[in-house]
Symmetry: C2
Subunit: 140 residues, 2 copies
DNA sequence: TACTTTTTTGCAAATCTGTCGCAATTTGTA
DNA sequence: TACAAATTGCGACAGATTTGCAAAAAAGTA
């Protein structure tokens, strides 16, 4: 389903409207990499900083956006519903970030683990740090 | 090995001393759940906010502490070396954070996935959001 | 369409967070 | 104990995030 329609639907069903600022934030986040709030504000021209914060808060509440801790500062990105779900692997040596695709069996185990602890998962993120192919070689 | 001795060793080997503030921060973080910086400061009586920030920065550099994104604000906790490794589940409704224990099979799958992508994992974190037992009930 | 009601937004002010310089205090060492 | 180096507390600050409120935009209704 088209992410845009999904956004509309998600807003409608919670009695919110699809306004210009909300559309702008959504578009800005559709790019490849997760953005810092600073970058996000920069990519939403003519939209007040306070409004961007308010839209992000709304989107987080609706499960449209999630924040990740990448090193020092957090970054924002669309959740799996609006963006292909994947995991993030960051190289400790060169700093590059690659995406690891979803793995159904892995997710299944995670859900089972949570269930054993009476927790119902709605979303999840997996972050790994290590060495990418080329840096693995260099590091000996 | 006793976590405390480990801390001493870690500090010594990098020419840092085990001072009162550092001991206090370490103790505060040994509790069950990860703490927000605000909670951490509150649990270190008579220790200046700036000092707590400085200790946390030092501990992060030494790999003693790591920061997690649990919902809205980040939280701090001891790394696997000083604390048993586990995953975090944050309730979207009440905001509480619980720990899910390590699951060997799950980790194995994650490592295998990374290996298929030529990435060598050194560390990882898994964060899940959803509803805790009591909030699951309320939400119906 | 014209009018009313409800949501959103922009702006400015207020509040938090995290950082920095520096003098005073504590720790390590001989 | 005395000296040198490391660490802390305090006050001041820059940047991040939130809030109140009036204006603007969107939704609902006749």
């Amino acid at each position: 389903m088209d992410p845009f329609l999904k956004l509309q639907k998600s807003l409608r069903s919670t009695k919110h409207s699809l306004t210009t600022p909300r559309r702008a934030v959504f578009e800005a986040l559709r790019g490849q990499e997760p953005l810092t709030i600073h970058q996000l504000v920069a990519r939403c021209p003519n939209i007040d900083r306070a409004t961007v914060y308010r839209v992000v808060a709304l989107f987080e509440r609706l499960g449209i956006v999630q924040r990740l801790q990448t090193g020092w500062k957090y970054r924002l990105e669309l959740t799996g519903e609006f963006h292909e779900h994947h995991h993030h692997a960051t190289c400790l040596r060169c700093g590059s970030a690659i995406n690891l695709p979803e793995d159904a069996a892995l997710e299944a185990r995670l859900y089972a683990l949570a269930k054993r602890h009476h927790f119902r998962i709605e979303r999840h993120q997996i972050e790994v740090q290590g060495f990418c192919d080329s840096c693995s070689a260099v590091r000996t």
